[in-house]
């Protein structure tokens, strides 16, 4: 089994005619994802890698039964694209776009409370259920099907950890990149709960980083409500306060919140193993399985 996406996921790509949208549509098709439509205003009637393009997401839902979207729309138009997706009765929206203004995401976040659609991202690599489907830009060939659930705020760190896991023979049930922005849709907690409810996920790897308090909140939930064993990893132990480390959300505040030390301590207090290197994360999974 898996969480959030599987063989039945039917994808509409918003921004399919752009460079990234087109390239990754090709990659997703090659992986076996059911990319059933594209949606780009004014480009209805075209096709990209054999996928029909519509002017609106609603048309893609009506004509192709799309139930999920992947957003490759540039930052200035991403809020609108996500609102359109949320207004089209999809089950899932995966926003890859990096650099969406935070106030735009505050409006999206507010809308999310009123709809049943799940948002993953933005500023994320997407989600993959190995051997079934991937929505996003993750390089499919490093993943293997298995029983480790992975959730991470960072793209390339996900790849690194997956590489270590796969090399040790630990395939993944689903890997979710939740994104490096201050305001995101699906959180660590949402994902941890979903993995915990998935009978085929036997261990969870959670990769966090400096900034915000999501890891601390997740630690409290792990302690109280997650039965599946969790291995944690936190990036940014050496990050100085007040400097944005690449991701908009990866910043230790001047007041000292959001530090790696606080996150590691919270996770360890919740009984989570938190190794210092990605290779040791995979080794810690050995101990659990």
């Amino acid at each position: 089994m898996s969480i959030f996406v599987d063989d039945d996921t039917r994808v509409v790509v918003q921004g399919i005619t752009g460079g990234e949208g087109s390239f990754h549509t090709d990659q997703m098709l090659a992986y076996g994802t059911n990319v059933v439509a594209g949606a780009v205003p004014g480009k209805g009637g075209e096709s990209v890698h054999g996928v029909p393009v519509y002017d609106t997401v609603r048309q893609a839902v009506r004509k192709e039964d799309a139930n999920a979207s992947v957003v490759f729309v540039p930052p200035a138009f991403a809020e609108d694209a996500i609102f359109e997706a949320l207004d089209s009765e999809l089950d899932l929206v995966v926003a890859i776009t990096e650099g969406i203004p935070t106030q735009d995401m505050a409006r999206v976040n507010r809308r999310l409370r009123e709809v049943d659609t799940r948002l993953i991202g933005p500023n994320c690599p997407g989600i993959i259920t190995p051997g079934e489907t991937k929505l996003g830009i993750l390089p499919g060939d490093i993943f293997a099907a298995g029983s480790v659930g992975l959730v991470s705020r960072s793209g390339t760190l996900t790849y690194q950890v997956v590489d270590n896991l796969t090399a040790r023979g630990h395939g993944q049930s689903t890997a979710v990149g939740i994104g490096g922005d201050p305001i995101i849709g699906t959180t660590f907690i949402d994902t941890l709960r979903a993995f915990d409810a998935d009978p085929e996920t036997d261990a969870i790897v959670m990769c966090g980083e400096i900034g915000g308090e999501d890891e601390e909140e997740a630690a409290a939930v792990i302690d109280a409500a997650i039965d599946t064993p969790v291995v944690g990893f936190i990036a940014g132990r050496t990050a100085p306060p007040g400097k944005r480390m690449g991701h908009a959300g990866a910043i230790v505040s001047g007041g000292g919140t959001g530090t790696a030390a606080s996150k590691i301590a919270a996770l360890r207090d919740a009984g989570v193993t938190v190794p210092e290197t990605p290779a040791d994360v995979a080794a810690a999974v050995d101990e659990l399985l």
């Binding site: 990234e20 390239f23 930052p75 200035a76 650099g99 203004p101 935070t102 106030q103 735009d104 995401m105 505050a106 409006r107 976040n109 507010r110 690599p125 830009i137 993750l138 390089p139 490093i142 991470s152 705020r153 960072s154 793209g155 390339t156 760190l157 996900t158 790849y159 690194q160 590489d163 490096g180 201050p182 305001i183 980083e209 400096i210 900034g211 915000g212 308090e213 999501d214 909140e217 990893f233 990036a235 940014g236 132990r237 050496t238 990050a239 100085p240 400097k243 944005r244 480390m245 690449g246 991701h247 908009a248 959300g249 990866a250 001047g254 007041g255 210092e276 290197t277 990605p278 290779a279």
Partner: protein, 381 residues
């Protein structure tokens, strides 16, 4: 992006928030002329983008020309927490009875804006928040509607603000929210918001930090942006479009993706070295970008070795390898040892392309970092 006090204050004033009269000055003569026209006493305030300027000696209240000259001479050109003071504002002194705090920020956890009011202004508000969280009244704002007037009133009552100035403070808070939203700010703060001995409410300081991701829709702020860069290297990074943070160590780090680069820094520390920088080349970097990254790290004189760690998703190993070869072939002698580790998309091709006369190749992240730490130690010894 942080705005200077004077830039933020002008925006607040334009929106209708009362502020003291002030003038910007860059020389002692300009300070004296400004003070003359405003009338003594005046405050001379260093314009650098750091907090705690007063404690660090960057703000002085002066009563006459002799004092003003001495203060201006001292503050202009001084080093304030690593920044050289090039500009000051000369501001009319405010006779205050009380110092309040008002601010708007984004509450990440809640995913919505929050308006804050406190009677304990004039001090570090984060210290207040830690010592006595109840001293700050908070109202979360629904971004679809903005700050409702009742919310401003409620926050002011909860904060225990004197009823005599409640209406004026509410107006300031409401206006501050509108400026925050209209400027795409991450934070907008007035600390202190002074209540004068005459019962007027006036913004004695102004903080406004703008979301860099929203600058595309604020061309009016573009002129403030170039002042951001702090030193030569950070200016260069800005020009090349890299996410770059300079640190104090000797192991230079280049990688792709924020989380993985941070992890590489942490590993340098884990293996006993000290990271010299954070440099993220971003996704899909081509050969010239890789060469620029090497150029950046080489031009940091603290750097003794460089670890190059690329995990390709959309970034291709062969492109990276070509960029490294290209950049290094320009040198008669490689200035600093470079250790490369490639993984992910096209990594095998990349490994084959890499010229091992110029670089050391390692297969795992851990090995590459260890080798770089050792190399830096050898150079230092």
């Amino acid at each position: 992006m942080k705005l200077h006090e004077y830039q933020a204050k002008r925006r607040f004033a334009e929106a209708g928030i009362p502020t003291p009269s002030f003038e910007l000055a860059e020389t002692v003569a300009e300070v004296l002329a400004a003070a003359e026209s405003l009338g003594y006493p005046v405050a001379i305030k260093a314009q650098v983008k750091v907090g705690g300027r007063g404690k660090a000696g960057g703000i002085e209240l002066v009563d006459d020309e002799a004092e003003a000259e001495a203060a201006a001479d001292r503050i202009l050109g001084m080093d304030l927490k690593g920044y050289t003071v090039e500009q000051v504002i000369v501001e009319e002194a405010v006779d205050f009875a009380q110092e309040l705090y008002v601010g708007i920020t984004m509450d990440r956890g809640a995913g919505q804006p929050v308006a804050m009011v406190s009677e304990e202004g004039g001090v570090d508000i984060e210290a207040v928040a830690e010592r006595d969280p109840d001293a700050i009244a908070r109202e979360h704002v629904d971004p679809a509607f903005g700050l409702h007037p009742y919310q401003a009133r409620r926050a002011i009552v909860e904060a225990g603000i004197d009823a005599a100035v409640a209406r004026d403070v509410a107006r300031v808070l409401q206006t501050l929210y509108d400026v925050w939203a209209g400027t795409d700010a991450t934070d907008a703060e007035i600390n202190p918001l002074m209540v004068t001995t005459d019962g007027e409410v006036i913004a004695a300081d102004a903080v406004c930090n703008v979301d860099e991701d929203a600058l595309f829709r604020h061309p009016e702020l573009a002129e403030f942006e170039e002042e951001e860069a702090r030193d030569e290297l950070e200016r260069k990074a800005h020009e090349y479009g890299f996410d770059y943070v300079r640190l104090d160590g000797t192991v230079g780090i280049i990688g792709n993706g924020a989380g993985l680069v941070m992890t590489t820094l942490d590993l340098v520390d884990h293996y006993g070295g000290e990271p010299a920088n954070f440099l993220d080349v971003g996704g899909g970097a081509k050969a010239d970008r890789i060469a620029n990254a090497l150029d950046m790290v080489f031009s940091d004189e603290n750097v003794d070795s460089v670890v190059f760690n690329i995990f390709g998703g959309i970034t291709r190993g062969d492109e990276v390898a070509r960029g490294i070869n290209e950049a290094l072939s320009q040198f008669d002698e490689i200035p600093k040892p470079v250790i490369v580790r490639l993984a992910g998309t096209n990594w095998q091709e990349g490994m084959e392309i890499l010229n091992t006369d110029l670089v050391t190749v390692e297969e795992t992240l851990e090995d590459a970092v260890q080798r770089a730490v050792e190399a830096a130690a050898e150079v230092a010894a």
